[in-house]
């Protein structure tokens, strides 16, 4: 007597579809900001190394401190510092969004987009404000 098997054990299982892949997924503000929070976190960790170098130079004396200040004062140094400022404010604003979400608020799609664009706008505004203030205090503006 021949017994018909429903699912032969020898047949390899069909590969299951995976979750939306990043390559075929249209970027949205939500996903871009989620990735950005992680990327800015990594970049700020690198920036934190700069903070320790700067403090160590200050502790070492006026000579080493002047060398580091000169590096920061160069165009390249200022570009890096400017990028760090924007990175910092984007991470700050993104994290405040996350802290609000932790209180189970603002999860409606509309709120998520409002807070997302607010974070981007606030980061840009705060970066410009910080640099205008810094350049004014320093007497460069």
């Amino acid at each position: 007597m021949h017994i018909k098997t429903i699912a032969p054990a020898t047949k390899a299982p069909r590969p299951r579809p995976l979750s939306p892949n990043i390559q075929i997924y249209r970027p949205q503000l939500t996903s871009v900001l989620s990735i950005a929070n992680r990327v800015t976190g990594i970049l700020l960790s690198v920036g934190a190394v700069g903070l320790v170098i700067w403090l160590s130079a200050a502790a070492a004396g006026p000579g080493p401190y002047a060398t580091v200040q000169q590096a920061i004062g160069s165009w390249m140094g200022r570009f890096v510092l400017f990028s760090c400022t924007f990175t910092f404010f984007l991470h700050l604003c993104g994290s405040i969004r996350h802290l609000v979400w932790d209180t189970v608020h603002g999860f409606e799609l509309r709120s998520i987009y409002i807070s997302g664009w607010s974070a981007v706008a606030a980061s840009a505004a705060l970066t410009v404000a910080a640099w205008v203030a810094g350049l004014c205090v320093g007497g460069w503006l």
């Binding site: 990594i42 960790s45 934190a48 200050a58 700050l92 994290s95 405040i96 205090v137």
Partner: protein
């Protein structure tokens, strides 16, 4: 892993990791984040206020107990936050045997940098002049 086991779900779960400290990482990440909001803003404002000022002025500022204390708190919160965050990034994207080594390396780097920064701050704070 998928071999049939005549065991209850509880029997399978017992011994598979801690069930008491699961939220610790998440919570400390939030506590350090909340601490970093005022600390980083204070630091940014102080740096802006000292833009263009020379070495003695900057040192005189960092030597005040408030500034030195704030800087040390900033370094502790910053590198603790970074260590927790970078650990998650490594655990999410590195799946090879390097993962464990990378997690250890990043933790050691973060705490080493924190201590380096704190020692530098203390050297400035307690340098007699």
């Amino acid at each position: 892993m998928n071999r049939p086991l005549f065991r209850s779900p509880l029997g399978r779960a017992i011994g598979l990791g801690s069930a008491k400290s699961g939220s610790q990482h998440w919570l400390v990440q939030r506590v350090t984040a909340v601490a970093l909001v005022p600390l980083t803003l204070w630091f940014a404002a102080s740096i802006i206020a000292h833009a263009g000022s020379d070495y003695p002025v900057f040192i005189a500022w960092l030597r005040t107990p408030f500034a030195a204390g704030g800087m040390i708190l900033l370094l502790i919160a910053l590198f603790h936050h970074a260590a927790l965050g970078l650990r998650v990034v490594i655990e999410d994207y590195i799946h090879s045997g390097v993962r464990f080594a990378a997690v250890i390396a990043i933790q050691l780097c973060c705490y080493g940098l924190a201590v380096t920064g704190i020692v530098a701050t203390l050297r400035i704070a307690f340098s007699g002049e």
